[in-house]
């Protein structure tokens, strides 16, 4: 395969996509750690409820990101 073809191929596009998805997933994981720490140290009921909601949303995002990466890996 010529270099020109490699740059215009779907493989490269998928590679870029995978890299971007992994970057967002990494941010989500970092955020998850932060949220878990905050949740453990929070005593106010209202705030805990809010943090729990953020944690759940984060979990859904991570699941979606992992699923998308897996789909790309499978081609």
């Amino acid at each position: 395969m010529k270099l020109k073809d490699i740059f215009s191929s779907d493989r490269l596009k998928d590679g870029k996509k995978r890299k971007a998805l992994k970057k967002v997933l990494h941010k989500l994981e970092k955020k998850q750690d932060k949220l878990e720490k905050e949740f453990r140290s929070e005593s106010a009921k209202k705030m805990r409820k809010k943090l729990l909601l953020k944690l759940k949303t984060n979990k859904r995002h991570r699941r979606k990101a992992k699923q998308l990466i897996a789909e790309l890996d499978q081609g």
Binding site: K16, K17, K19, A20, L21, K23, V24, L25, K27, L28, K31, K46, K50, L53, K54, K56, T57, N58, R60, H61, K64, A65, L68
Partner: protein, 599 residues
């Protein structure tokens, strides 16, 4: 500073005037009632906008000759040029006729009013429609209380006319004492000086008596008693013609810029006509004598000769000024400009940025953020919160739960000034730059345009929300207050988190975390999980409150979904692949609905 002290000063002067003079009280009350009548009249005509009256008016005043005829006929029937001019001002203010048509009506009214002189001279008759003021008021007010829009409109017009006449009546009564002070012999002067002096007296007398017809009667009486010469009597009639514009000027005080333009046009026309009449007084007198001889009017029948003079000089005015109507319109539009709304100008949209797609994109993005910042102010104030509180408060829940302050601000005018104008500029700029945008940037421009549209839509949602949020913020029922506060908390928390994200380093930002607010409003709200139904069932809120809450929940939900989209576009990653990844991972309607259904 000046504006702040102006009102107390006016009030102080009025109170002092009321204290020292009962006549002053009557005159000012007359002016107040007159202006109130104008407001009623405009309200009444507004009820017919887009309907029969507008069609009729546009058909009868679309050409100059038609509006001229309209003025002649209506003034002849009503026997009051002042009333016709005031009605024309109302039509114009309500946007039912054009300024040129209004001027045509005024010109016509000046000819129509000469029939009054003929009626007085020929039959000693004066049609006094002010006698109908009281019945008009009674019938008008009854009709105002009807539900039918047409009936209500007619009611406002009748009551408006009734108040106008009542106001004029009180002004006349108040000025009664001044009438005796008009001693015409004191102004006897030869030549043009005398003519101008008597014209000034004519103006004063008409302003005082609020009727050019009444001045004409006074002139005829003075002529018969030989208090004034025939020549000076004509000057008085000229003055009366100028003085009669006071009613229109007074009427224009409560109207918009268009009404003021017409009143100014009326004054200009009558002053120019008056100056022409004085300048050519001897020629006009000759024309009057010739006409009198032709129609067999006796040489000493000054009453009829005055009527002839009145007609001739008004006709001359119309004939001379008719070709200049368009110029008069341009002059008035320039002299009394439409008040400019102090709109916010774009900060970043300049022609220089169109050189490169990257700079163009950056400019549009920055301007969209500018639009968002302006909208943020309206959204915050719309839910009765200060921006500083939203951005700085550590515990928004606690603060909003106890906050019951209603912010006094005009959402519509702020929207017009700060959002609508800017949004229009962005749209125009993108449309103009369309040709310079390469295909690979097209999607990003589309996204920014969408973000602007969603920002505007959010402001509109908040506008709907504001009514009940304000209503229930001060309500005694703590449950409904709590439900509305929950919506305020969700909106304020989202705005707070968006601001927190903006402060972060772009690489650390994770805009999709704002999806938590989508999940919260769709899955945790009392409206969707049956909490509101329970409140109604337990009698804690009324079904009406529940209905309002459910409707307003829809507006709040739309606002939250739109704001998260706006934030993702404006403050999310700039890298195309990462933007795409954020979009793929972010929760859309389908994801949230699916979860809610499986709950």
């Amino acid at each position: 500073m000046f504006r702040r002290i102006l009102l107390p000063v006016i009030f102080g002067l009025l109170v002092y005037g009321f204290w020292i003079s009962p006549d002053f009280k009557q005159i000012t009350a007359g002016v107040a009632i007159f202006l109130f009548g104008m407001l009623f009249l405009e309200e009444g005509f507004r009820a017919f906008t887009g309907g029969f009256l507008e069609t009729l008016l546009s058909r009868t005043t679309d050409r100059l000759w038609k509006s001229l005829s309209f003025g002649i006929v209506t003034t002849t029937v009503m026997q009051s040029s002042s009333l016709v001019s005031v009605i024309a001002i109302s039509f114009l203010s309500a946007g039912m006729i054009s300024l040129a048509s209004g001027i045509g009506i005024i010109f016509g009214a000046n000819i129509g009013t000469t029939t009054g002189a003929w009626l007085i001279a020929g039959f000693g008759l004066k049609v006094k429609i002010s006698a109908y003021a009281m019945p008009m008021l009674v019938f008008g007010i009854i009709l105002v209380f009807q539900n039918n829009r047409t009936m209500k409109g007619i009611g406002y017009i009748l009551a408006g006319l009734g108040f106008l006449f009542l106001g004029i009546h009180y002004m006349k009564e108040g000025f009664e004492t001044f009438r005796d002070t008009i001693d015409l012999t004191r102004f006897a002067m030869p030549g043009y000086a005398g003519l101008f002096a008597f014209a000034a007296v004519g103006i004063f007398a008409t302003v005082v008596m609020q009727s050019s017809h009444a001045t004409l009667v006074l002139i005829i009486t003075a002529l018969a008693a030989q208090q004034v010469t025939y020549e000076n009597a004509l000057a008085l009639a000229i003055g009366a013609n100028v003085g009669t514009t006071i009613t229109a000027i007074l009427g224009s005080l409560s109207s918009n810029h268009q009404g003021k333009r017409l009143a100014a046009g009326h004054l200009i026309f009558n002053v120019i006509t008056g100056v022409i009449a004085i300048a050519f007084i001897y020629q006009i007198m000759w024309a009057v004598d010739t006409t009198a001889v032709t129609f067999g009017i006796k040489d000493d029948d000054y009453t009829l000769k005055l009527a002839v003079f009145h007609t001739i000089f008004n006709m001359i005015g119309v004939v001379v000024l008719l070709p200049f109507v368009n110029r008069l319109v341009s002059f008035l539009e320039g002299a009394i400009p439409e008040p400019k709304i102090d709109v916010v100008e774009p900060k970043y949209l300049m022609d220089a940025v169109t050189e490169f797609p990257e700079t163009l994109l950056e400019a549009v993005r920055n301007e969209s953020i500018h639009l968002y910042d302006n909208a943020l102010e309206i959204i915050a104030h719309g839910v009765n919160l200060h921006r500083t509180k939203i951005l700085q408060a550590d515990d928004l829940d606690e603060f909003i739960s106890h906050d019951r302050e209603v912010l006094d601000f005009n959402l519509d005018s702020t929207y017009e000034r700060k959002v609508k104008a800017l949004y229009a500029s962005i749209l125009e700029f993108i449309a103009r730059a369309q040709g310079d945008i390469p295909p690979e940037f097209a999607d990003q421009f589309y996204e920014l345009r969408q973000a602007c549209r969603q920002t505007v839509m959010t402001v509109k949602d908040v506008k709907h929300l504001r009514k009940n949020i304000t209503r229930y913020l001060v309500h005694d029922n703590e449950y409904i207050r709590g439900e509305y506060n929950a919506l305020r908390i969700q909106l304020a928390s989202l705005l707070h988190d968006i601001e927190e994200l903006r402060k972060m380093d772009p690489d650390d930002r994770n805009v999709i975390e704002l999806d938590a607010y989508r999940v919260e409003i769709d899955e945790e709200s009392n409206v969707v999980n049956g909490g509101v139904d329970r409140l109604i069932r337990d009698g804690k809120i009324t079904p009406q409150m529940g209905t309002s809450l459910m409707n307003d929940y829809g507006y709040a939900r739309d606002a939250i979904w739109q704001l998260t989209d706006v934030a993702k576009t404006l403050f999310g990653s700039r890298d195309v692949a990462e933007m795409e990844a954020e979009e793929l991972i972010g929760l859309d309607e389908y994801d949230v609905e699916e979860k809610a259904a499986g709950r």
